[in-house]
Each structure stands twice: as structure tokens, then as C-alpha cells.
């Protein structure tokens, strides 16, 4: 996702990158595939796409609201003619929105400036902008209009605000990467989901192999406290939830990664199951059901809607570019007639979905949010990377019309690269796209057994993609010299298990990845000043002499290995973290970009926190001279690292 505000300043860079990519590709290899960028002209990169992410109907079905992430605005469309009524600018990189119960106010979260825009739906104007938490995402107002709940992705909590003043009352502990909120139909509870798995409680013997655990955080609205947490075992990446009108059936879209078997075994279904977990009175104990079919996976499920008559569940699949339609009657029959596994999960049963998925409706690139009209006849889907809305007739399960978002028609290099990043078309059976593991172009908080070198060998932590340009070689062992190599032969052969990218597609993908913007660092003070603790930590980071006056060897200084803009000198070191299951102990110094957010740590994710890197995994001072530090000083060092 590239920001409007960045595009102008980046044109020159993109020009250079485009030329570079063309050179890399070997000019003249253009294959004419329809998915590719329309032009190699760098000017096409400075295009102001809307990138619709979420959509909402007004309570009376006369209009709908579209959250446009890249153009940073809310577009208001007439629900009958699809004509634009108004475009309302909001804050930077909006992600979530919802209407107040009476429909008079629209709340929009702005993830890059940590604000909430309040739009009066009568005047269609922003009437207030409130400061909120770090990377606000989902937002919901309670029925009484007393409190507003905001999911903060970075701080992994749910802020409780006074709905009239925006003053924050408190924060409730959510799951890691708390992002989406859903109010139950009776207004009594709010269900919060999160996109990264919770921290592992008990490390396994190897310290790096644990099944992910996620949750649905249940908030009691009357008391504004967490009432319960519905466990989601072996799930990492949980997105929107929806309820039937009677409140008896809830459904949440999620990823079920199989990260502890070699990812290369796609032919064995070895990457992901994409599932729904059903919960509520209709099903009793929560039950997980796959959306995947044997030859057609439902990659990257995101948005969920349940028909008002409780006949269908609709799920957008961002990687598969389709909407899955689930027949609820048949689904419930399946649940009743099939012995439920002890785990409560049918995720491994690829034959299951044939019993209840009744349609797969092809839509545009990277479909995300969806909204049903109140009568259930019309389903609107936001195709984020196609700048269109698909209007689906729910009686026929067909796209009745496609609404362009009045943006550029051309597909820029960056847009094509981003489409390539999200789509699962390229991989075997459509199982995975880059975004399956790099959620929203970040990471997934998991360690993976990536390659077919034996089960449990060379377990590696998935890494953040922000700010990775020009820091090759890539991979933990530095085995790939550049991004095209990282994303090309390695990905195609090992991960996709399918045909290779054509060269221009690969070049565009690499350019997109090189240009993934780095989010504002929330631990930095305005003006990039450092707090006293951060100052002390920086001095430790930069030091060349230990506390006993002994010189620290260059290779054992923080500032040597983690030098430069991204915090890596790009060289290989043995920092004493090799496990018996690792093929080598030589590892590339890891970049420090946004390191506070990217737990777990070390090449195999064995350090669950930054502290553990040194308190547990650095007994011989091979990973920097740190054992002379007091606890206070280690805390200071970590405070500084969080600013990187």
C-alpha cells in the first residue's frame, strides 16, 4: 500500500527503480499478460488510486460509504445510481469505520496519524478529529451512544472512549494486533479480533516450535470490561466477524497456518487452511470449518457478512479474488451429522467445504470489505487493488455490476507489484500469496519450517517487510543476494510450487516490496528527540568499551552489526544462537526497523521478547557484549531499540 502523500516525492525514485527493473528483466521480455502494468512509463506510478478497503450501507439503504485507504477519504455513493455524492477527506491511511447506531455519525480510524475522524452523515463533513491509540483500526459505538471502542493494532488493546468527547477512559487488553470489532445484534457485547497470534506461553523444547494461539476477545458493553476470550487454537490471522440477526450465530474469518511442516509441501496442503470459526448458541462450542476446496483454496479470507434471513454467509477472499457463499442450512447440517473432532476443527478436511460452500463469485483484485443491503438483496464488495466495487445480486450469486472508483484506469508498476503480492493465483492450487504470511505487507508473528530439508530443520522467523530495500543479502542466512532472487526462484520453486513469474511481474513485485512504506515509529518523541532512558540506551548501543573499561571488539558492538538506516551492516555473524536443528549458525545481522512490533526474535523466533535475546540467548556475549549490564541498563537499551 503506497500513500498518496508519498507518491509525488517518490516519482524520481520509482523512475530509477523502473529502469532498474527493466534492466533486470531484460527489456523485451514483455509477455503481454493482462495482469501486468499497462506501461513501463514511470509517470504511471504517480497515480492516485482510491484503494477501497471497507464499505457500509446507510441504515435506510439509500447510500453507501466507501473507505478509500490510498486516497485517504470516504466516498459517499448513491445506492441506486452509484453516483458519487461526496468525497470526504480524512486522516492518513484510514483502515476502519462504522456508523453510530442511529446512523448520524460515521467514525473513521486513521492508522498513520493515530486519530479518529467523526463525520456528520447529515452534512457529510468531518466535525471532529480525536487523538486515539497507536494504529487505530476497528471502531464501534455502543447502542447507548455513551462509549466508543477503538481497536489499536500496535498496542494490541481496545480503547474505551467517551463517545461524545473522545476522551479516553481506559484500555482493555486485546489479542496481539487487535484490529476488528463487531457489536452483537443485541448490543450487549463487542467481539474483537487480532491479526497476529498471541505470544507463546510455554516455549517448546526447541524453544521455537509452537502452534499459534489466537482469540476472540469478548467485551461486556454494560461494564466495558473483557468478559471472556474465545480461544482459536492453531489460528494466526483473524479478521472480520459477523452475526446473524438473531445473534445466535457468529462467524469469523481467519488463517490456519501449518507453519511447523515444511512450507514447500503445498502438494500436501502444507501451508494454510483458510477457515471460518462459528460460535454462538447455534453451535455451542466453537467449531472451525474450512472454506477451501481441494483445487481452489479460499486464500486470505477477510470480510464476513451474514444474510438477514440467516440463509447465507458471504466471505471475501483477498488472495483468491472471490467471494465464497456458504449455505447456512447445509453448514449446520454438516456440523450436526459429522463427528466433531476433539479440537473442534475441521480445518484439515478439504472435502468439507463441498457440503456447504455453494458458490464462488469472482470479483476484482484483493476484495476486502463487504456490506449487505439491509434487505439482503445486494452485496457490495470493495476490490482494493482494482479500484472497483462489485455489486452482487444475492439471488443469483452473480456480479450484477462493477462500479469504478473514478480513479486512474492504468495499472502502474507499483499497483501491479502490489496485486502480485496479494494474489494467490500464482501458487499451487491457489493456496498462498505473499500476503498470506506478510499480512497487510508486514509479517505474521510466526516461525516457519520453510524448506524441504527435513521436518523441523532450519525453523525461521518471518520478518517484517517495511524498509527492506537495499539491505540485501536476504534470508536469515543471507543466501539470496537481492529481492528479485528472494521473491523469484526461491518463492516460485519452493513456496508456490508452480510456474515462475514472468520477468516483468517479478520486477514489479520487487519494486513494490522495495517501496513498502515504513510506518511512523510510536516510540519516538516528536522531533525525534530521545527520552532520558532512550538516550542512555543509545549510549550503550554505541559504546566501544564495556563497564569494566575493556574495549569491546568491533564485531561485538551493537552499533557495528546493526549500523545504518535499517540497523544492519548486512554481514553474516555467528551470535551463538544456532540450534541443533539449524544447518548453519552464520546469520545475517537482522534489520532493526520497527523492531518493537515484530516479536518473536532471533532467526528462529526462540526469543519471545526483546529482553530474552540477551537474558536467555546470549550467555557467552556472542550477540553483543551485554552481560556486564544491569537490568536497568538492559531496559534502557531496549527503550532505545524501540525507537528504531
Amino acid at each position: 500500500m503506497i500513500l498518496r502523500s508519498q507518491i509525488g516525492a517518490r516519482t524520481a525514485l520509482v523512475t530509477a527503480l523502473t529502469l532498474l527493473s527493466a534492466a533486470f528483466a531484460g527489456v523485451g521480455l514483455w509477455t503481454g499478460r493482462t495482469a501486468q502494468a499497462d506501461s513501463r512509463d514511470s509517470a504511471t506510478d504517480a497515480l492516485d488510486y482510491a484503494s477501497p478497503l471497507e464499505v457500509l450501507f446507510s441504515p435506510d439503504d439509500t447510500r453507501f460509504y466507501v473507505l478509500c485507504q490510498q486516497s485517504e477519504e470516504i466516498r459517499v455513493l448513491d445506492a441506486a445510481s452509484y453516483a458519487v455524492i461526496k468525497n470526504i477527506p480524512v486522516g492518513r491511511v484510514p483502515r476502519g469505520f462504522s456508523l453510530s447506531p442511529d446512523g448520524t455519525r460515521l467514525f473513521v480510524t486513521n492508522t498513520w496519524d493515530d486519530t479518529l475522524s467523526v463525520i456528520d452523515t447529515g452534512s457529510l463533513a468531518v466535525v471532529a478529529t480525536w487523538p486515539v491509540g497507536a494504529e487505530p483500526s476497528g471502531v464501534v459505538e455502543d447502542r447507548s451512544g455513551k462509549r466508543l471502542y477503538v481497536a489499536n493494532r500496535i498496542s494490541s488493546d481496545i480503547a474505551v472512549l467517551d463517545a461524545q468527547t473522545g476522551v479516553e477512559e481506559k484500555r482493555l487488553l486485546g489479542g496481539r494486533g487487535t484490529s476488528y470489532l463487531t457489536l452483537s445484534p443485541d448490543g450487549a457485547k463487542i467481539y474483537a479480533t487480532h491479526i497476529y497470534p498471541n505470544a507463546s506461553k510455554q516455549p517448546t523444547d526447541g524453544g521455537n516450535r509452537s502452534v499459534p494461539e489466537s482469540e476472540i476477545t469478548v467485551i461486556d458493553v454494560a461494564r466495558a470490561v473483557v468478559q471472556d476470550r474465545i480461544p482459536l487454537h492453531a489460528v494466526a490471522g483473524v479478521f472480520h466477524a459477523a452475526f446473524s440477526a438473531d445473534g445466535r450465530l457468529g462467524a469469523v474469518a481467519e488463517y490456519h497456518p501449518k507453519n511447523l511442516v515444511p512450507l514447500a509441501h503445498l502438494e500436501h496442503g502444507g501451508a494454510f487452511a483458510y477457515t471460518l470459526t462459528l460460535f454462538g448458541a447455534d453451535v455451542g462450542k466453537p467449531v472451525e470449518l474450512p472454506l477451501d476446496e481441494l483445487e481452489r483454496y479460499a486464500s486470505q479470507p477477510f470480510g464476513v457478512a451474514i444474510a438477514p434471513d440467516k440463509s447465507r454467509i458471504y466471505v471475501t477472499c483477498g488472495g483468491s479474488e472471490m467471494v465464497k457463499v456458504v449455505d447456512i442450512h447445509r453448514l449446520m447440517q454438516f456440523i450436526r451429522t459429522h463427528p466433531r473432532p476433539q479440537s473442534g476443527s475441521f480445518a484439515q478436511d478439504l472435502s468439507a467445504s463441498g457440503n456447504y460452500v455453494v458458490a464462488s463469485i469472482a470479483v476484482g483484485h484483493n476484495p476486502r470489505g463487504l456490506a449487505l443491503s439491509n434487505d439482503g438483496s445486494k452485496l457490495i464488495v470493495a476490490n482494493r487493488l482494482e479500484d472497483t466495487l462489485s455489486v452482487i445480486d444475492t439471488r443469483t450469486n452473480r456480479v450484477a455490476s462493477t462500479i469504478p472508483m473514478a480513479g486512474p484506469k492504468k495499472i502502474s508498476v507499483l499497483r501491479h507489484g502490489e496485486q502480485t503480492f496479494y494474489t494467490a493465483r500464482q501458487s499451487f492450487q491457489g493456496q498462498i500469496g505473499c500476503a498470506s504470511c506478510h499480512i497487510d505487507a508486514t509479517f505474521d508473528g510466526l516461525t516457519w519450517d520453510l524448506e524441504p530439508d527435513g521436518f523441523g530443520r532450519d525453523i525461521v522467523d518471518n520478518k517484517m517487510l517495511e524498509g527492506i530495500k537495499d539491505i540485501g543479502p536476504y534470508k536469515w542466512n543471507g543466501g539470496n543476494p537481492d529481492i528479485p532472487t528472494e521473491c523469484g526462484p526461491r518463492t516460485e520453486k519452493y513456496f508456490w510450487r508452480s510456474e515462475q513469474y514472468d520477468n516483468l511481474t517479478l520486477a514489479d513485485l520487487a519494486i513494490f516490496i522495495r517501496n513498502i512504506p515504513t510506518r511512523p515509529n510510536r516510540w519516538k518523541l516528536p522531533g525525534y528527540e530521545l527520552t532520558p532512558a532512550q538516550e542512555r540506551g543509545k549510549a550503550l548501543f554505541d559504546r566501544a568499551v564495556d563497564k569494566f573499561g575493556k574495549p569491546i571488539a568491533e564485531y561485538n558492538r551493537c552499533s557495528y552489526c546493526h549500523s545504518g538506516r535499517a540497523g544492519t551492516n548486512r554481514k553474516l555473524f555467528d551470535v551463538g544462537t544456532r540450534k541443533a536443528t539449524d544447518n548453519s549458525g552464520m546469520l545475517k545481522s537482522a534489520p532493526l526497523t520497527e523492531i518493537a512490533q515484530t516479536a518473536p526474535y532471533l532467526h528462529d523466533g526462540s526469543a519471545r521478547t526483546l529482553e530474552e535475546i540477551w537474558t536467555v540467548f546470549n550467555p557467552e556475549d556472542k550477540h553483543g557484549r551485554t552481560n556486564d549490564l544491569t537490568k536497568d541498563e538492559l531496559n534502557d537499551l531496549i527503550e532505545y531499540l524501540r525507537t528504531r
Binding site: 477512559e169 484500555r171 473483557v226 516510540w523
Partner: protein
């Protein structure tokens, strides 16, 4: 922004203060006018309780109960073998298998805003939120030491007393601040207790007196026993009664302090000390103190549970001689009157105290006791 924060603090602090006053009024109903009560009868009317005791025989995971916390209708008991919660007349126990830092739970605190419970254990600090337990240790976090003797929640800060100094976790930023001999007047770092409010934070330091942190100025102050470690009181009420401070409770701008050699009350200007020889304390060896308000407090000693209403004292304990329930009342003149009772706390060695309306819950060395207020 500062104004917003200030307003938020005021809004949050106000109901807390109100809640404290209400609890205090309830807990002392019937004893609100001690002087009048005293005049009406030979012995002052002091609160009476029927004690119901919980042990392993009726669901508690262990009889060694270090701490107790009232959370509305729920009661949390920190035992030597897990964290137990009593709800709907049934006990449920959380153990290390559930993610609890250690089986021995030494201290408990409630975040009244969120309902989260914080448990200090022998091997780390655990947060219990909606059934989920997250644990902080000296290895996986900025926590100064794994032995957590005390914990107190104030707004978005969790203040912790450990065997290696105090510390504070800011829940919003995730930052840990450590307080020890390097940045406070603390001379010993064995910190036994903490009482935190939006204005002042007090640390009870074993061997280093009482430490005060002013939240507004960021300054530390230290209160010591004027006679040092002589263990002799040269002048009564000269200052803190002893350096070996075990517990502190800050209520209504009054600091109540427990030590192993007597107890103290400090109003910001004057000290008032309590010793067995000149008060109703059953023992100078005090594990815990919990203030009700500026005048009244409860003390947990090795020889029973004591209540001070500002003038008179009451002691509740099984007899040290024969184990039979005892209650005694000591008036302002020092006259001690026994009161006939049929129940007493589970044991004389008291480790924890909390209030539930007019009732009291007491953690003892041989069980958890629920003192049900009698008319």
C-alpha cells in the same frame, strides 16, 4: 493534551475516591461513632463477624494463603499452590499450566477500570484478563526481579515491589521503570509492599524504611526510623517505628505502615506509632496493614487480626493457647474486654486483608477466612 490527560485522571480518580469512602462507611457501620458507642456501654461497640473459613477441605488449593483480593462478587486467593477464585460458591484454580508465573502467589491487585487482576508470585508477575494469563518475568520483560512481594495498580501504571527494588510498568507504552539504590534513596532493595495512587506512591522496604514518590514532582522522599536499627523507641511518635517495613497502605492522604516491630500512621506532618505495650495490637510483628480511611485500619499480625477505629482496638483470632475463637476489645484507657464469639479467622498468622462491603476477607497461614459482618 495535558489538559485532556488531567481531566481523564480527575474523572478516573473521583469515582475511585468515592468508592473508597463508601466501602469505608460500610465496613464501619455500627462503629461510625466510637465515642458515642463507648459512652453507652462498658466496652466500645466494635464490629463483630461470623467467620467462614475455606481450606483444602472445601475447595481451596492450599491452606497457605498469602494474599486475598475482593473483585465484586469474586474473591481471589493467592495460595502457595495456585491462584484460586471463588465465584458462584465454587473455587476455580489457576496454575502454571494456565500460564501463571509460579504456584506461590504472594500479592494481588485489581485494576478497577478494566477488571484485570495482577498477581505477584515467587517467579514473576501475572496479569489475568478475561481468563487469559500473561506473565512478566525478569527474563522476558523489564521486571526487576521475579520475586514479586507486592503489586498495586494506579491508572495505567502497575507498580511492583520485588526482591530487587521496585518497578513500574506503563501499560500504554510498555515501558518499565526500575527503582533501586541507583535512582532512589533506597539503601536496601528488598521491597515488600507498594501502595500507589495518582498522587503518591509508597514503597515498603525491608530494612530501608518507607519510600515516597510524588507523582507530580517526580521526587522521592524517604522515611526512616529515627533511632536507626537500635530497635528501641527513644521518643514515641518521633518518626517511622522501624526500618523493617513490611506493608504500606495509603488512604485519604494518610499512610498506614506495618513493620515487624510495630506499626505507624503518618498524616504528612505527624507520626503516630502503635506498639503492643501502648495499643491494642496483639503483636508488633505485623505482616500487613490495610487502611479503611484516615482514622481506621486493619492489621494482620502473627498473633491475630486487629482493627483500630481511631480510638479503640479489636482483635480477632483463634486462641494461641487452645485454638478457641477469641475476640477482645481494648478501649482508649487500655481496658481489655473479651467478647463472646463462636468463630474466628482460620489462623492467627494473618498475611492478607481485603474488604467486601461490610465484610472482611482474611488470608491466613491455614486457610482463607470470610468475616461476615454481624448486626
Amino acid at each position: 493534551m495535558k489538559k485532556l490527560l488531567t481531566l481523564t485522571m480527575i474523572l478516573v480518580a473521583a469515582p475511585c475516591a468515592f468508592g473508597a469512602a463508601t466501602a469505608a462507611q460500610q465496613a464501619a457501620s455500627g462503629a461510625q461513632k466510637p465515642h458515642a458507642a463507648q459512652a453507652a456501654s462498658a466496652a466500645p461497640q466494635m464490629p463483630r463477624f461470623r467467620f467462614e473459613n475455606f481450606t483444602t477441605a472445601n475447595g481451596l488449593p492450599d491452606n497457605h494463603v498469602y494474599s486475598v483480593l475482593v473483585d465484586g462478587d469474586r474473591i481471589w486467593a493467592g495460595t502457595e499452590n495456585g491462584l484460586a477464585v471463588y465465584e458462584n460458591k465454587a473455587w476455580k484454580t489457576y496454575t502454571t499450566k494456565d500460564g501463571l508465573a509460579h504456584r506461590a502467589v504472594l500479592s494481588l491487585a485489581l485494576d478497577k477500570r478494566t477488571g484485570d487482576v495482577w498477581a505477584g508470585t515467587m517467579a514473576g508477575l501475572s496479569r489475568i484478563s478475561g481468563g487469559r494469563i500473561d506473565t512478566y518475568t525478569q527474563l522476558n520483560s523489564g521486571l526487576s526481579n521475579d520475586v514479586v512481594y507486592g503489586v498495586s495498580v494506579e491508572e495505567e501504571n502497575v507498580w511492583v515491589a520485588t526482591a530487587a527494588g521496585g518497578c513500574k510498568l506503563n501499560l500504554r507504552t510498555g515501558q518499565w521503570m526500575l527503582y533501586n539504590e541507583r535512582n532512589t534513596p533506597m539503601t536496601e532493595i528488598w521491597v515488600y509492599g507498594v501502595s500507589a495512587t495518582p498522587t503518591k506512591v509508597y514503597y515498603a522496604v525491608w530494612g530501608s524504611g518507607l519510600l515516597e514518590y510524588d507523582q507530580k514532582t517526580g521526587r522521592w522522599d524517604k522515611y526512616d526510623d529515627p533511632d536507626g536499627e537500635n530497635e528501641m523507641v527513644l521518643f514515641k511518635d518521633q518518626g517511622l517505628i522501624h526500618e523493617i517495613v513490611t506493608s504500606v497502605s495509603y488512604v485519604d492522604n494518610i499512610v498506614w505502615v506495618a513493620t515487624y516491630f510495630g506499626d505507624s500512621r503518618y498524616d504528612g506532618r505527624y507520626w503516630h506509632n502503635f506498639l503492643t505495650k501502648d495499643s491494642g495490637l496483639p503483636s508488633n510483628f505485623t505482616n500487613v496493614v490495610k487502611g479503611l480511611d484516615s482514622k481506621r485500619a486493619w492489621f494482620g499480625t502473627d498473633k491475630g487480626l486487629a482493627y483500630y477505629d481511631g480510638v479503640n482496638w479489636a482483635v480477632y483470632t483463634p486462641s494461641l493457647k487452645d485454638g478457641k475463637p477469641e475476640m477482645t476489645v481494648r478501649d482508649a484507657q487500655g481496658k481489655v474486654t473479651p467478647v463472646a464469639v463462636t468463630t474466628a479467622p482460620a489462623h492467627n498468622y494473618i498475611l492478607g486483608i481485603d474488604f467486601q462491603g461490610s465484610d472482611i476477607w482474611v488470608a491466613t497461614a491455614k486457610g482463607l477466612s470470610h468475616g461476615i459482618r454481624q448486626p
